[in-house]
Amino acid sequence: MFEKILIANRGEIAVRINRACQELGISTVAVHSEADRDSMHVRIADESVCIGPSAVNKSYLNTHAIISACEITGAQAVHPGYGFLSENASFAKMLEDHKLNFIGPKFQHIEMMGDKIQAKKIMNDFGVPVVPGSEGKIKDVEHAIRISNEIGFPVLLKASAGGGGRGMQIVKNDEELRKVLPILKQEALSFFGNSDIYVEKFIDSPRHIEIQVMCDTHGNFLHLYERDCSVQRRNQKVIEEALAPDISEDNKKKLYKICTDAMSRMGYLGLGTLEFLYSDGNFYFMEMNTRIQVEHPITEMITRVDLVREQICIAHGEKIFTTQENIKPLGHSIECRINAENPETFQPSAGQVQMYHAPAGNGIRLDTFIYSGYKVPHYYDNLLAKLIVTGRTRNHAIKRALRALNEIVIDGIQTNIDLHKKILSSNDFKQGAVPINWLENKIDQI
């Protein structure tokens, strides 16, 4: 097994990875910016290296500093977490060139799936159902207008190098398309470094259903069922649950098989998530994330598989410890993303946590990095904690989540805890199967 792993991330996921390493007897190296000197991931790691100033591009995206940190500490592998360099194929290749192990998929697959247009094409070839669209980047405005009229407005203009809900815009007709396209191209170039745009049919009120896959070097391509991530605001997930309510077992089974077959044909390695839109009984492939996801804990709770641990073992060339037949889902799990944000404006809000008290009891898991007195820096994303609640049934999980949200205390900064209480108490959520535009439409009424 690896003796030492460097964790190229921060916040709650760095703590999560630390824990998996410690349970495997692996030494850990935390890298951090100057602003994160007192962060929990630094405090619990065996060693730490400051890799740069607060700015992300000079620290957590600083590939040279991270590789240098591996060199001076003797780390053999790097776990990139999510975000930052986790889907950076050049970084994965760079590590390989330096004889370091990247805990994740092969860099070729990261590259393949990072190009959203190419990913769709490849999945389509593998028989995975996809959203009807331009099947490639649009050449010019006229091309876009032709395609859009063929598949029918409204359509979604999407940046090929985007993803994670960013770089997309709906247009309802030719005129809007003409106006929006050049602006979107410009934005795509500045945010993602690539101005390629593709067109997709806009699917009205779909749900977001994603399949977790896990593959090793011994020919095992497994799935760990699905997650329903439809409670979103501005394309950012707020609440996720496993398993997805109100979808037939048959339909789900077909999708699991399609996904594992595609992974087998790809020769994929490690963890991945295939994201789909679900509408009118149909699944449409959107994109694949070639990394561990924020919401991975809900899958862990219902399958009792430690996904980060498996990532590390798989990266070390080990066979997955179990078989598909032995991964049986039990119970229902819900995750609430607790963010530091102003409840009215939803603006991120930094500050000092004056008092922190975690909820506890049956079925409660809190993945976080905050502690009483911790100063939340403003340079990074505002996720403070993930509250993961598991119950025997969906209703039980909802009641338990509300109980836990009443117990949790985070004083000194503003959070979206009240929003979570409202969502979980609403009749719509209790009924289940809300679409991805539900929260934004109903937020004032719940």
């Binding site: 630094v42 619990i44 060693e47 730490s48 040279h64 001076i72 500490t73 003797g74």
Partner: protein, 151 residues
């Protein structure tokens, strides 16, 4: 249940003390005179998290010395702009770039940091006399680590 009608507690001084407590980041403040005394305190959350143990890496000496923490904000400190390994001389066997007591000019090379197989000369941003060299030859350093004191 206490009978609130019998006592009239003057909350003004208590409120004033509580406000002072916050403003001055104190944990306890008391006031007393001939007729009256009051004490206001805030409970302190003792952070029970263990301090991270910076253990020696297999490659060499410790990454972080206690002495370096003292010079983090010292204006005399030349700090490392990168992660890597320090060399005090241009090549093995050669003389060190600088010694304690030397006069150095702004832009003068003080030492080399090796990072990812490249040698990077680290120049002084200050003019003056080298009063302390805070790192050893072949020591691993992190970003922002104080290397040399020049005054």
């Amino acid at each position: 249940m206490t009978d609130k009608s019998k006592k009239n507690i003057d909350t003004k001084p208590i409120k004033a003390l509580a406000k002072l407590l916050d403003e001055l980041s104190l944990t306890e403040i008391s006031y007393s005179d001939k007729e009256f005394s009051v004490s206001v305190s805030k409970s302190v959350n003792v952070n029970a998290l263990p301090q991270s143990n910076i253990s020696s890496s297999s490659k060499g000496p410790v990454v972080e010395d206690e002495s370096n923490n003292d010079y983090q904000n010292d204006p005399r400190a030349i700090k490392s702009p990168m992660v890597g390994t320090v060399y005090l001389q241009p090549e093995p066997g050669a003389n060190k770039f600088i010694n304690v007591g030397d006069d150095v000019k702004s832009g003068q090379t003080l030492l080399i940091i090796e990072a990812m197989k490249t040698m990077n000369p680290i120049e002084s941003s200050l003019q003056g006399k080298v009063t302390k060299i805070l790192v050893e030859n072949e020591q691993a350093v992190e970003f922002g680590q104080p290397l040399v004191l020049v005054e």
